[in-house]
Amino acid sequence: MLIKIGREVNLLAFSKKLEKETGTDVRKCYQCGKCTAGCPMNFEMDVSPSQVIRFCQLGMEEKVLNSRTIWYCIFCDTCSTRCPQGVDIKGVMDGLRRMAVARNIKPKSNVRFLEKAFQSIIYLFGRVYEPGMVGMYNLRSGNFLHDVGYFPLMLRKRKISLKPHFKRTREVRQVMKRAQKMKLRKAKELEEAK
């Protein structure tokens, strides 16, 4: 891979854009690697968390937005908590996801389907209902029998139950609706600003 740097390339432009989006200045990172060291999802990632930050520093927008890494981050916050320089790595990951979505870049994993399924289930029941969520995820991803084999065992061990539990569904729905409204308002503002 060749990194081109020259007069016409502004390395800082992407960092600044990212700072606006996420409130985190990636230029603070000094590449110690502590985020990579503690990342529980590193085995699934094509570039490690510290590398994502490095690519951001170098302004390699295409590289990070097309990486698997941003979609496999589970927001456990280990990286951000431990970062000696106060870089909010998981926040950067989230911001990059939003950027990728805005640019219609296809996610490199099915994680979007899981997110959709998760949101619908929360909207319906006010809390997670695992069989429903996995079923919905499998329908969307097209892999209908994914993980179905574990179902009886988990049922027997009472890890999941067939009956959904409802919990303050109305309030949760209100929260989600309001969030949706806020998102729309923000999008509109951005549109007008342009």
Binding site: Y30, Q31, C32, G33, K34, T36, A37, G38, C39, N42, F43, V47, S48, S50, Q51, T78, R82, C83, P84, Q85, G86
Partner: protein
């Protein structure tokens, strides 16, 4: 009649770029009292000073205004020139048309006008200035060094060999500091004690050095050349003069506690000397653990002492010393492992600090150099060193680099490999900073010849898996996660300012930064001086440094002390407060606000010697000319010479006349 000369400097283009200097000189001539004015490219240069001197003589000037840079830069230069030409130096004033004018403006017309105003103000002031004389104060030819580590020892030795008596105050019961606990030193692998103990003995035997161990500074009064320090000699329960250091007491003492000198890895008695080469080799009783002092039992040491040197009723004693200069060499402490829960610090005994590792491999350590890990005494066959623990981590601990870790970790990998030839050692690092004579070569040697494996990446967490410790880290060069199973983990924890340093700094009246390190007067040009005249700094009290740097700073501070104390009297600027005793009513406002305790009450008596009234009196030796007292006086009886009300009002009026 005042005859004032005005000298306008271009400062190359620094001033001339924004100020029309020739116009300033021209307009100055029209100010009443000005008989001569000129502009010149560099007034501070030799020809420039000659210009001032010749004009003073030729035009019989009674006052001079130099319009150039800040008085902090060149006031001394020009006042000296004025003195050489026969003018009282306090009849020369600087108009600051660089820092306060040309550097902060960019409009030529406005800059010129402001310069003219500034010159006019100073002309009006200098017309009313009165000649002042410098004050000379006597000097106590004795110095005090606080801290008996290698830095303090070096400073004390150098001052004493210059013929000045030294009081060396040490907090612990023995001098030697942290260096006495090290095994070998980088980059030469000298045995630390072998090179330190000769110096300790030398300082102990020096006739001009008085060592006061197990003592702390209680109070400091006075000023440069005339300090009066109160030293608290903490209760030792052992008569140092009667004791011969025979050792019977600490052999017989039944109480065993963790030894601070051995970093908690070994034991000591309740009556103890920290290490065999301790100086003075007189024990002290640890009052918190002694059975006699806590529960009134035992008392064996008193029974066995052949010289009856043990006194259980010992109390803290205070002694006063008068010194002319002080060197503060209070050193550092290192962060304990318990500060790092993510690294298992405090939870697992096999996670140790580098100072603990020094004791583990040291031939005089608790295991006599037999490397055993603390938990089960097993020989560690794999050791992981983690650097930058607590350093370079502004988010959680300290933002600064502890400077010495890169080097001592390289050294410790060597020490380890010399003990365990088949052992593996891994070093997690972010950068290797080896800037010193033969330092880089030393680190390369550790990697190339001594088999230390360096891995670039910070460690995320350390935990126990069965018998092993597991270090979870990353290698950022291959971009992979790394898990190392090992027997022992050594954390190169950060160097910190020692406990109580802020209180000490407040007692001494010197500054410290947000980390607790003491601040120097100027980081480059006055690196061992403080803002308080007569108090000097050396070693790790300033910031982390290694032994060579600390020793050179000890010597540097000693040179400063010798320079200061080589004179019989010190000359001091005549800018001090003075009291008009006719109008002073003795309300003591000024005494309360004076930060330097320079003002006292003076009795005014009649001819029969009867007390009439009391007035304030300024001790010119103590007064620094800060001016705090002048606005506090309700009857305007106290005035700062060189900045009297008439002079300052003249300045302001000159500005208001426009």
């Amino acid at each position: 009649m005042a005859r004032i000369g005005v000298f306008v400097c271009w400062c190359g283009s620094n001033i001339a770029e924004t100020v029309e200097v020739s116009k300033v000189a021209e307009v100055s001539k029209s100010i009443p009292g000005v008989v001569y004015s000129v502009d010149y490219k560099y007034m501070c240069s030799d020809p420039g000073q000659e210009l001032v001197k010749n004009a003073i003589k030729e035009y019989k000037l009674t006052g001079v205004v130099v319009a150039s840079c800040s008085p902090r830069m060149h006031e001394k230069t020009f006042r000296k020139a004025a003195l050489e030409a026969g003018l009282n130096p306090y009849m020369l004033e600087m108009a600051n048309i660089r820092e306060q004018c040309s550097w902060v403006h960019n409009n030529m017309d406005e800059g010129t006008q402001k310069s003219i105003d500034l010159v006019r103000m100073m002309v009006e002031k200098v017309k009313r200035n009165k000649p002042l004389d410098d004050i000379s104060i006597p000097v106590t030819k004795k110095a005090m060094v606080i801290g008996g580590g290698v830095t303090g020892i070096q400073a004390a030795l150098d001052i004493a060999s210059g013929g000045i008596p030294v009081v060396l105050v040490e907090k612990e019961s023995s001098i030697g500091g942290k260096m006495s606990a090290l095994d070998e030193t980088f980059p030469t692998l000298d045995c630390s004690q072998c090179i330190l103990t000769p110096k300790m003995v030398e300082v102990a035997q020096h006739p001009l050095v008085q060592i006061i161990s197990y003592a702390e500074i209680e109070k400091l009064e006075g000023f440069v050349g005339n300090f009066k320090a109160t030293i608290r000699k903490k209760a030792r329960y052992v008569d140092v003069d009667a004791c011969t250091g025979c050792g019977t007491c600490w052999q017989k003492c039944p109480v065993k506690v963790d030894s601070e000198f051995e970093q908690g890895l070994g034991k000591r008695k309740a009556i103890f000397i920290p290490f065999p080469q301790a100086i003075p080799s007189r024990p002290r009783i640890d009052a918190e653990n002694c059975l006699k002092l806590t529960k009134d039992r035992c008392g064996i040491c008193e029974k066995v002492c052949p010289t009856k040197a043990i006194h259980y009723d010992d109390k803290d004693e205070f002694m006063e010393v008068e010194v002319g200069a002080i060197v503060v060499a209070t050193g550092y402490k290192i962060m304990p492992v318990s500060a790092f829960p993510e690294y298992g610090g405090g939870q697992y005994p096999d996670v140790v600090t580098s100072l603990q590792f020094e004791r583990m491999v040291c031939a005089s350590g608790p295991t006599l150099g037999d490397l055993k890990r603390p938990s089960d005494g097993k020989l560690p066959e794999t050791v992981v060193f983690v650097k930058c623990v607590g350093s370079r981590d502004p988010e959680h601990y300290h933002s600064y680099c502890s400077k010495i870790c890169c080097m001592y970790v390289a050294k410790q990998t060597m020490l380890y490999r010399h003990k365990v030839h088949h052992g593996n050692c891994y070093v997690f690092y972010i950068d290797v900073r080896s800037n010193g004579k033969n330092y880089e070569e030393f680190v390369r040697r550790a990697q190339e010849q001594e088999g230390a494996q360096y891995i670039r990446g910070r460690v995320s967490s350390i935990y126990k898996d069965g018998d092993d410790m597991v270090v979870e880290g990353a290698d950022t060069l291959t971009n992979s996660q790394i898990k190392v199973k090992c027997d022992l983990v050594v954390l190169a924890t950060a160097m910190e300012a020692p406990d109580g340093i802020k209180q000490l700094a407040q007692k001494l009246g010197i500054g410290y930064d947000q980390h607790g390190f003491l601040t120097e007067a100027h980081p480059k040009l006055r690196p061992v001086e403080t803002a308080t005249a007569g108090i000097f700094l050396a070693g790790c009290a300033l910031s982390p440094r290694d032994i060579p740097d600390s020793v050179s700073e000890g010597s540097a501070a000693a040179a400063k002390v010798l320079g200061l104390l080589s004179k019989d009297t010190l000359d001091k600027e005549g800018v001090v407060a003075i009291v008009n005793e006719l109008t002073c009513v003795g309300c003591q406002n000024c005494i309360r606000v004076c930060p330097y305790n320079a003002i006292e009450l003076k009795d005014i008596c009649n001819r029969q010697g009867e007390l009439q009234r009391q007035v304030a009196h300024v001790n010119p030796g103590l007064c620094t000319g800060c001016g705090t007292c002048t606005p506090s006086c309700p009857s305007r009886s106290i005035e700062l010479q060189g900045f009297r009300d008439t002079e300052l009002y003249a300045e302001i009026n000159a500005l208001a006349e426009l």
